[in-house]
């Protein structure tokens, strides 16, 4: 019991993206993500298996199509199955986080309208939950990587850098989508289509070199996700025939648009979220 009551008057800031102090923000973020993760993965009998089965099935189907039907994968890429699986698992993280985040703020309507709650926690907790999931899936991927005879190298240490960039991009997109959905309900449908497009605009099914055309490669490198995924392939699978992101983009200058899009997404997310956050409770 605190008998010494704090007697200093402080101005109340009102609702916001962060409101309520940094420690509380982080505590809430962590608790929400952990409880949600537990709920999903310990709530059902098969729990975690379900979240693994989905990317694995997608992997199985695509592997069959691209090695047996089109022969594209097996001929051009040394470790096609590993590249495909790694790409699918990483993209699943991006897609799951963003699509879950779209409706996250609105589905927490009760909490948002009736409690003082740092709004940004909601989309970020969604992303964090998916990140836990990604962590577990990457363990499975590691098994595949080793089983397919890819030897560990020092460049693996750079993989977390790529993950961090992917995490920031995912968080930015998720935050922006979650708050836009409050005002514009068609964001959900639009995003489903855009996410599907992004899947094909990222070198997951095919290597960058599949175009055999440097202009198209450079176009592909406009997509920040493509840059991340290509660099992951270089760092983790270290295939001699895979160009680095810089090579694919035709020089460092070629990466500037992707970097600009990445930064633009972050700035837009911060701007739109902090602009809309104080009004969420009124707009719902």
């Amino acid at each position: 019991m605190n008998t010494a009551v704090d007697t200093e008057l402080r101005e109340v800031g009102g609702p916001g993206a962060l409101g309520g102090g940094r420690q509380r923000f982080l505590d809430l973020l962590w608790l929400l993500a952990v409880t949600e993760f537990k709920r999903v993965y310990f709530g059902t009998v098969l729990g975690y298996l379900w979240s693994l089965i989905r990317p694995l099935m997608l992997f199985g189907v695509l592997l069959f199509v691209f090695t047996q039907v089109f022969r594209l994968g097996s001929e051009q890429v040394e470790h096609y199955p590993v590249m495909l699986l790694l790409g699918i698992v990483l993209f699943t993280f991006f897609q799951e986080s963003t699509t879950n985040a779209v409706t996250a703020v609105v589905s927490q309507e009760g909490v948002v309208r009736k409690t003082q709650f740092p709004r940004l926690v909601i989309p970020l907790a969604t992303v964090l939950t998916c990140a836990f999931n990604l962590g577990l899936n990457l363990v499975v991927v590691l098994g595949f990587v080793l089983a397919f005879g890819v030897a560990p190298t020092w460049s693996w240490l750079l993989f977390p850098v790529a993950l961090a960039v992917l995490f920031v991009l995912t968080a930015a997109v998720s935050a922006a989508l979650s708050v836009l959905y409050v005002r514009f309900r068609d964001v959900a449908i639009i995003w489903l289509v855009v996410a599907q497009m992004l899947f094909y605009m990222t070198p997951i099914l095919y290597p960058v070199t599949a175009f055999e055309d440097s202009t198209k490669e450079q176009l592909l490198m406009l997509n920040p996700l493509a840059v991340i995924f290509e660099q992951v392939r270089v760092w983790v699978l270290h295939e001699p025939q895979a160009p680095t992101a810089v090579e694919a983009a035709g020089g460092v200058a070629g990466l500037i648009p992707a970097a600009a899009i990445f930064l633009g997404a972050c700035v837009f997310a911060v701007w739109t979220f902090s602009r809309e956050a104080p009004r969420i409770a009124e707009d719902l």
Binding site: V5, E11, P15, R24, K114, T115, R185, R279, E282
Partner: protein, 409 residues
């Protein structure tokens, strides 16, 4: 009570608070629409919810906020709780506040009580460690020890309310913001709430209670404030504020028939001055003991000369089931004539056979010979019956049992 409260330092300071809502005449809620018609007229009506409110609440004060629906009371509450953004003005606060706009609103029914208590504790400003340490105390007070790992979706509503309320007590904030919690739960739980409020009050917590029940304002609050039309109508002693609130609520809306927000309908025959449950000394009450007397007092003023005044009280329980109806002519049978301007006080008493619970009284006043309702007010009185009657029926009829040896075939 208000005058005797010692001046300490302020716990909450509100200065010149303004808040208005923009209600778009045509709401653009899809990107498609925004893209197709980017410059579509963004007309909106401006709804002023709060129009310049300033007040101060002292530390350790129990402060009541009352007001009719749409008065701006809920908006003020949400501004204090940092849910809505302030248009202009400032709110300053000393210490940590725990807002309870609604009991248990932050609960996730897919999680266990344990997880919910920790999550909500952190939401209200505890650290995760503190929240975990207080879990036992919360569960114990709520009498839910064995259900701590049960998911909340399997809880009964009574269990949920108990959990939420004991969490509120254990969060141990400096300032508590409470909205209408007294209206939930059964009579036994309401009694527990009342005890807890007295305890908090004597522990010197600053408490803001937002309610419709004038009884709780008068019995708990040091000071109260009435909000009407986004401004402070009265601020001061609770009895003064509650009188003003009732005057606002019961006043005839003007000549001719009409309905106000509370659903009162009246023609220009009588004016209702006051109607309430009263105790033996004639003080307003909001609860009556089972087995005691149930007294309802109504004060009216005649607006014209007429004869045959009749009053009816329909008492309904929380489920909306009419339990009892009292209907009688005022002043005898047939009711004698009344003159314009004459004021009457009518007290009706009956043995309280009602089971413990929450009741509403619908008031009707009519003129017998003319037929038709002169005044009708659904939910005019709101009261609780408390007591130890251990049954779940609607009424407890007094009974006598005679047992004799039976010697027949």
């Amino acid at each position: 009570m208000g005058a005797s409260f010692p001046r300490v330092s302020a716990a909450i300071q509100v200065e010149d608070l303004y808040k208005s809502f923009r209600i778009p005449t045509h709401r653009v809620d899809s990107l498609k629409e925004r893209v197709i018609r980017p410059f579509a007229a963004r007309d909106h009506r401006e709804l002023k919810a709060l129009d310049g409110i300033s007040f101060e609440i002292e530390q350790g004060e129990f402060f009541g906020i009352v007001g009719r629906n749409g008065s701006g009371k809920s908006t003020l509450l949400k501004l204090l709780a940092s849910i809505y953004r302030i248009d202009s003005g400032t709110i300053r606060m000393a210490g940590r506040m725990a807002p309870f706009i609604e009991l248990g609103v932050g609960f996730n029914t897919d999680l266990s009580a344990r997880e919910n208590v920790v999550l909500n504790g952190v939401m209200m400003g505890l650290t995760p460690r503190e929240a975990r340490n207080r879990l036992d105390a919360v569960v114990e007070f709520a009498e839910l020890g064995e259900f701590v790992d049960l998911k909340l979706k399997n809880y009964s509503s009574g269990m949920l309310v108990r959990l939420a309320f004991s969490l509120l007590l254990e969060v141990d904030a400096d300032i508590l913001l409470i909205d209408e919690v007294l209206a939930v739960g059964d009579a036994a739980f309401q009694q527990k709430c009342v005890d807890a409020f007295h305890e908090m009050k004597s522990a010197g917590k600053t408490i803001i209670l937002v309610t419709h029940e004038m009884g709780s304002v008068e019995s708990f609050c040091h000071r109260a404030m009435l909000i009407e039309g986004g401004r402070i109508a009265v601020i001061g002693a609770p009895d003064e504020v509650s009188r003003e609130y009732l005057r606002l609520n019961f006043e005839a809306p003007g000549p001719g028939a009409g309905a106000d927000v509370t659903g009162t309908r009246t023609d220009a025959t009588v004016r209702l001055l006051d109607t309430s449950l009263v105790d033996a000394e004639g003080h307003r009450a909001n609860a009556a003991e089972h087995g005691g007397k149930l007294r309802i007092r109504t004060r009216i003023e005649a607006l014209r000369d007429f004869a045959g005044l009749e009053i009816s009280y329909l008492i309904a329980n929380a489920e909306g089931i009419a339990v009892s109806q009292w209907r009688f002519g005022v002043g005898g049978d047939p009711p004698p004539p009344v003159k314009a301007g004459e004021r009457l006080e009518i007290v009706t008493a009956a043995e309280n056979l009602l089971a413990p619970g929450h009741y509403l009284v619908h008031l009707g006043i009519n003129v017998k010979v003319e037929g038709g309702m002169a005044l009708e007010m659904p939910g005019a009185i709101d009261f609780v019956v408390f007591g130890v009657a251990n049954h779940h029926a609607l009424v407890a009829l007094p009974q006598e049992t005679v047992t004799t040896p039976y010697e027949g075939e």
